[in-house]
């Protein structure tokens, strides 16, 4: 099953809408609540990253019997140094975004801690693609 959501750049009042909607679907599919939490944390952080940093993008969530695969695809500006972006506490967020309590350099760490797999591809001037995989079978 595939579910797609559009993410608007800079629109914090809609940040979390995709996560909220996908959470309801996962509940209906009777996914284990602990696994839902991990998926939702990862998706939310990815969503907020697009709102805060990108010029817009989309989320594609694929659910099959063994795992959930989330692709967060934005249209730029891209991440010049992925290793640096992955460092806890490193952030390029604006002052306005930080005042809201975002931009503490914890988002990608939260994704890494909750996903079974995280793949980041980015090209400056083109965009960033995050692939997040969470297995549905309990280890």
């Amino acid at each position: 099953m595939r579910f797609e959501y559009t993410i608007e750049a800079g629109n914090f009042s809609k940040a979390g809408d995709a996560s909220s909607s996908f959470k309801k679907i996962l509940k209906q599919l009777n996914v284990d609540p602990h696994i839902i939490k991990r998926i939702v944390v990862s998706l939310y952080e990815g969503e907020v990253n697009i709102v805060a940093h990108a010029k817009g993008g989309k989320v594609i969530c694929d659910v099959d019997t063994s795992r959930v695969t989330i692709q967060l695809i934005d249209v730029g500006p891209g991440i010049p140094d992925i290793a640096k972006a992955m460092q806890a506490g490193y952030s390029t967020a604006s002052a306005k975004v930080r005042e809201m309590g975002f931009g503490a350099g914890m988002g990608l760490q939260n994704i890494k801690n909750n996903a079974d797999e995280l793949i980041i591809k980015s090209e400056v001037g083109v965009g960033t693609q995050l692939t997040i995989i969470v297995n549905l079978n309990k280890a």
Partner: protein, 111 residues
Amino acid sequence: MQVKDIITTLNLTVFGGSQGLAHEITGGYTSDLLSDVMGHAENGKIWITLQTHKNVIAIASLKDLAAVILIKGLEPDADMLAQAEEEGIPVLGTTDQAFETTGKLFNLLVR
């Protein structure tokens, strides 16, 4: 203990989301960094914060938190309140600071 049980003792204002007043409280989490709460607060916790915007409710709802307490006499933004009503997450208020609020809640839950 349920959210409604702490309102009188902590002298809290109920701004909205009162459908959630029967939520069971498992503890508290005090933070103003949204990703910190997203990453570390567990379900049933009461979130003590000075953030008054709508994204607080998005996180509280996604993490199944019991309620939000706004400190220092702060009031929720209109869209935060609307979202709280929709999601059934109680938004409570106190004139105390984070330190006092956290201490009082801790004492109530531990004793």
